[in-house]
Assembly symmetry: C2
Homo-oligomer: 331 residues x 2
DNA sequence: CTGAAAGCGCTTACAG
DNA sequence: CTGAAAGCGCTTACAG
């Protein structure tokens, strides 16, 4: 009933605990005969080192934590997958801390993360400045910011302003009325404001070509498919074609598409539509969208972490990736 | 630079390490004056107990692990959210272990989970018998199976056969050709076979009313939206209306819907369509579907875990929840 | 290459 | 109510 300890292995192998420990930790200073014998006993007993004791005694953890604001979206699925791929190649284990409700943010930050004893931590899409002003710093070890930026940490993110700008440039050449569907973001939410950046770039491009966007053409909603349909309804009811709609997430774009179909409006003709993210649905539906190099971001994030783990004192680094527009039938 | 230890707190409070430990662990046997003083020092120093040492010394872990086969779907998002809700109410921390690639299953099982030192573990949608015959048992502590069943563990799941049966009964009254779109599931994949169960129930209902389903009307694909569209294309090309299609996931149903629209087929008339899961998209699109009590499953699963944590020796329990059909315009 | 020993930061009977 | 002490399972100089 009792768990098998290093002591048991030592006794049965006829060596000391120190030697067993060296075998476990892959030290070179072990006679290969001895190593073999110890390994056999470990196998026979089904011994597994107690990680807590190991870490307590000063050994290194080999799991990396990832904090993300949600699951259930293609963006994070792809991001996590690409990160895990590289992490596993380096023998790291991964654990995920999703913040599924806003109220739980403090619990994740003050309880889950400190308790995890991970070797390193990725914080994805969080606005670290606001976060760390409300919470005690949750993690002392190597930290890499993904999809957000701070001068105080290694960070990697995608240029959202550029993404919006690309769409804006395209839209400035189009006839008709221009509308934007985006998510309401509050400054102190603790999340990195991506929509606002996209909007900023978009508006910049419009201004450059002498156009402007009336406030009433900006539609702010929650983050859902239905919101896109709702916004579209509003637009179609109160303005006249041709419509140019920048749906700042493909999710919104799907809603717009659906609503347009119901009214017999032709996407790509009566309605020019551009989404954001290049989700698989956008590909299938022929939606013009902005592609973000998600996998690349994930891989480079892991690289940063590995380097930081190697040299904790090295200077902080940051990397900005570029999105690109993918032209399809919808615009 | 050095982390603050219980020793530091003890010294500054003028008590022994034992007393500090008692304060931390909420023991009643501490003078309230003493407690107050210790608490103040803890606060001032920003002391946080080292969880590894704590567990090494025999203290209880307060984090629960959840292993799931994927993220990025509404099903698991809802499931995890409902579980986390209850878990947090009991002061447990949660960590997630998604198995994003089939090849990683062994790493998660043999590395991540044993290393996690969680107090309990939920295994979601895994076929535990096949899993544990290929792997050494990954977790010794309290284990609860969610969305799958084994007589050896506490388990909670939803009756997929009944779900299929409900649809089958409906379809047996319909005119036209009947088709099924489902996912290919191999017996030894390690995942719980939900599609096969749904199919079994579906076929049973059909047989009861004297109908039968030709093998060529069963369309097996991977799990994606596009697969639904692909299957629909196949069906529309090689059979004639009216079509009755049981898409065994709403995801498939969306693909069918899209394909039907492209061809000018009217959903609900030329094409009777039933999905599975009652995702939010199904609601928005008026798709008849089978609703699974996901949140209920999550909550009850946590109840099981809490009870198991309380009384590790209690006898194994299992619970089967019932799905229901939600009738909308599509069928 | 290996053992004996000190140490990691905590918990928990035990004795008072 | 509290301290002194043994113990949790491991790691890692140190000495040989």
């Amino acid at each position: 009933m009792k768990p098998i300890t290093i002591e048991d292995v030592a006794r049965l192998s006829g060596v000391s605990r120190g030697t067993v420990s060296r075998v476990i930790n892959g030290s070179q200073n072990v006679n290969s005969e001895t190593r073999k014998r110890v390994l056999e006993v470990i196998e026979k007993l089904g011994y597994r080192p107690n990680q807590n004791a190991r870490r307590t005694a000063g050994g290194r953890s080999s799991t990396i934590g990832i904090v993300i604001p949600m699951i259930g979206t293609e963006f994070y699925e792809r991001l996590i997958k690409s990160m895990e791929e590289k992490l596993r190649a380096q023998w790291y284990a991964m654990m995920l801390f999703p913040v599924l409700k806003r109220d739980w943010l403090s619990k994740v930050m003050m309880h889950d993360i400190p308790n995890s004893e991970a070797a390193g931590m990725f914080l994805c899409s969080f606005d670290i400045e606001h976060l760390f002003s409300s919470f005690r710093k949750p993690f002392e070890g190597p930290t890499v910011l993904v999809d957000s930026y701070s001068p105080l940490y290694d960070s990697i993110y995608i240029d959202n302003e550029l993404g919006g700008y690309l769409v804006g440039r395209k839209f400035s050449q189009l006839e008709g009325s221009t509308h934007v569907i985006m998510m309401q973001e509050s400054i102190d939410s603790g999340f990195w404001p991506v929509f606002n950046s996209r909007f900023k770039g978009f508006q910049k491009a419009l201004l450059e070509s002498g156009k402007s966007l009336p406030q009433r053409n900006v539609h702010s909603y929650d983050f859902s498919w239905s919101a896109g349909a709702l916004a579209a309804r509003d637009i179609f009811d109160n303005d006249r074609p041709p419509f140019n709609i920048f749906a700042m997430s493909d999710l919104y774009a799907f809603g717009v598409m659906r609503e347009a179909q119901l009214r017999g409006l032709r996407i790509g003709r009566d309605v020019k539509l551009v989404g954001y993210d290049d989700q698989s649905l956008a590909r299938d539906w022929g939606i013009t969208t902005v592609r973000q190099p998600i996998e690349q971001m994930g891989e480079k994030a892991v690289n940063m972490m590995l380097q930081r783990l190697e040299r904790p004192g090295k200077e902080v680094e940051s990397l900005c990736l570029k999105p690109e527009m993918v032209e399809r039938e919808s615009a």
